[in-house]
Symmetry: C2
Subunit: 438 residues, 2 copies
């Protein structure tokens, strides 16, 4: 029996799961691959640290060269995270003609051009399934399952922490801060949750989805990113009254040579399947011009689901090795000569419907003045609710307007103008309403 | 530019869509494949028939040999349906070393052994993505995305006609017959709907899913198949009162060397995502030992979605041809030596919770007698509702029992015994309740 030899950088939660899966399902993997898999080397920061898995058969080192320069290593797995050292490891492995599997979304999003240029230059596979939506094989769907389709739209719930928090806030009417504290105690949110709740993790994943869908390498910094920290139980309640659920969405679309790529909270109609995706689960809608709407759903994080994706990539690459080929499918779905430079659309150019919650002192003519400004800016109103009047005429009340489809620039201009009225009692809340093609 | 040449058997709805997609997305496909695709020959029953697509560049014939014996044809696409002629075409194409793509679920389910034995013997790819759940790349998820996982459970809504009918019955309280008539007028159901509504189409798809999940070729005839014709608006209403939705499910599980493979209506808890899959849409849950629950959702039928799956298979095979290999991934997920003979579990051995609706004359002691029989057969009751009493003491009333997990044999024995009581006013309705691992 041939054994494909693997060197892993990083034996944290995912790395340890990869080792466990390969051991536990060795016989199954052999039945599918016709060869065995064997982790022979690992490089870690702290070799003395106690670990949950047995290290039998694995040579541990702190020196990357022990993996990179070992001619016996067939596949390199990068699971240390971060963009600097991880980037060097991936580039050097490729330089030495070793195929790479990585779960590193930050690296793939922020250093896309360097990494993928090297991948194309070497014509090697780069396993990246684990980088987006953990155990859900959604990147494979994009590169293979929908290879006959022009991708019209990507809409994903790709951050489990945010989805857990929003789901709990929705189910219990609880505040963001309370649910975040609970999520932290359950291990669903990091001690420093900013990276998740501010939307950056979702933006990394969106960059990868957009790059694969459109055969490009967008500038990550141009992605518009808003998190969920400003979402209140009140907004969730009013959205519910109007038939919507609040979700943090990663949205990708294409218009000629310009792509929309944005992460922000959005109102999703309750009868759309994304509204039913709750808790830590992830789901990605991919809409193709032939297949129409498809959705992939599952666990977006956790050692075993992410490890499953890593090992499936290892098996895929091992099948290449067994077949005697370097690579079968281009890393970004298209061949190198057909990669495109696509700009990300400036946010003020996008069009959407909007949920706007004004906090106003309840005086005569307030609504007329707000709607006049909006009308002057080409925004028409779909519906209005004023959920509860205060007993005290001096307390502010909430006025919620749902707009028809409008330009973001016009909406922002309206809000800036309306902010000057002296009946405005606080910051206006803006949440975009996402409608779907499929 | 190299052009991969394709011969298509059948230019019906799907065949015409394949031709259209290849033409419409030719440039896109070239960017992904590095080569073009070209349908050069088609074999049809009636070459003179008017068609919606231009036949320019396609040589039409009624003679299979024009494709099978043409050395220029790189890939054979079988879209004529049926198991006899289609089977011969697929076998002969393989015999001539031509890779095949087919959407033919009946053929793959009913003649699995012949077809897959030939596929393995020739070590050729067999594209079959379109055979299950049309535009949803779920078979690819099974063969590639979850290749590191032991598949614990398959649960799918894989027949759009049944799901449309059940969704409509649920939304509108309408009868099966009325909704079926409407579905027929909208083209969602065939003039002869038996094949769909009796569950056979779903059973074909289940056979394929089970074979791919477990690396086997089950005997299709052993799959337990029940359709939806006996589901009444009353059952849907009572299920709703109890927190469930009625769905036609295709269920596959494994217990050692025995698989469960069954198609029947089932009660799904409303908070499970499958309960939110409505209309003609399909969805397949695949639960792996590492990835946990994953779901693929989308359009399970229609020319373009199915055509999209066919063309994605063509591209996949063309990528093999471009890479200079015959095949990369074993047809049934495992290498030939590791195929297993797995028996399908006899239905009386399965275990489930049950929804039982008894029609009884409302006399003293009825419930005591029913529950005594069930208790004697090791069945314990989870809950009971008796939704409405009649004004006329002689009219039958409905008593609904939800059982705890019980053996099918015990439940059937109880029902046979209970049928003899003289307070029983009609046939007892049995619907299994499906709980999910993931």
């Amino acid at each position: 029996m041939q054994f494909i030899k693997i060197g892993i950088f990083g034996l944290g939660v995912v790395g340890a799961s990869v080792v466990s899966i390969i051991r536990k399902n060795q016989d199954l993997i052999q039945s599918r691959l016709g060869a065995g898999l064997e982790v022979t080397r690992a490089v870690v920061a702290n070799p003395g640290k106690p670990r949950d898995i047995s290290l039998e058969g694995i040579t541990l080192s702190t020196d990357p060269a022990t993996i990179l320069d070992d001619p016996e290593i067939d596949i390199v797995v990068e699971l240390i995270g971060g963009v600097d050292l991880a980037g060097e490891i991936v580039l050097q492995a490729l330089e030495r003609d070793k195929p790479v599997v990585t779960a590193n979304k930050a690296l793939l999003a922020e250093r896309a051009r360097e990494i993928f240029t090297k991948v194309y230059e070497k014509d090697l596979p780069l396993g990246l399934e684990a980088s987006v939506a953990g155990g859900i094989p959604v990147l494979r769907s994009l590169k293979e399952g929908l290879s006959a389709d022009r991708i019209i739209e990507i809409s994903g719930i790709v951050n489990g922490t945010c989805n857990y928090i929003l789901s709990k806030m929705t189910a219990e009417g609880a505040s963001f801060d309370d649910v975040l504290a609970e999520a932290q105690s359950l291990g669903y949110a990091e001690a420093d949750p900013a990276f998740d709740v501010e939307g950056f993790d979702a933006a990394h994943k969106l960059a990868i989805l957009v790059n694969l869908a459109y055969g490009t390498m967008v500038n990550f910094k141009d992605i518009h990113v808003e998190g969920i920290t400003a979402i209140t139980p009140m907004d969730i309640e009013y959205a519910g009254l109007l038939g919507f659920t609040v979700k943090l969405l990663a949205i990708g679309k294409i218009h000629g040579e310009v792509v929309e790529a944005r992460v922000h909270p959005a109102l999703v109609a309750n009868d759309h399947l994304l509204a039913s995706v709750n808790g830590v689960f992830n789901a990605v809608f991919l809409t193709g011009d032939n297949a129409d709407a498809t959705m992939s759903y599952g666990r977006g994080a956790g050692g075993l689901p992410t490890g499953s994706a890593v090992v499936s990539d290892i098996i895929d690459i091992a099948r290449n090795l067994r077949a005697g080929i370097r690579n079968k499918i281009p890393a970004l779905s298209v061949i190198q000569e057909r990669l495109r430079d696509l700009e990300i659309m400036k946010m003020d150019r996008i069009r959407s419907e909007y949920y706007l919650r004004f906090q106003v002192f309840d005086r005569v003519g307030v609504l007329a003045q707000i709607t006049r400004v909006m009308g002057d800016n080409n925004i028409s109103i779909q519906s209005m609710i004023q959920p509860a009047l205060s007993d005290h005429p001096d307390d502010p009340v909430q006025v919620i307007l749902i707009t028809h489809r409008a330009r973001e620039a016009d909406v922002q201009k309206s809000l800036a103008e309306i902010a000057h009225f002296d009946f405005i009692a606080g910051e206006t809340q803006l949440i975009r309403i996402e409608r779907f093609t499929g």
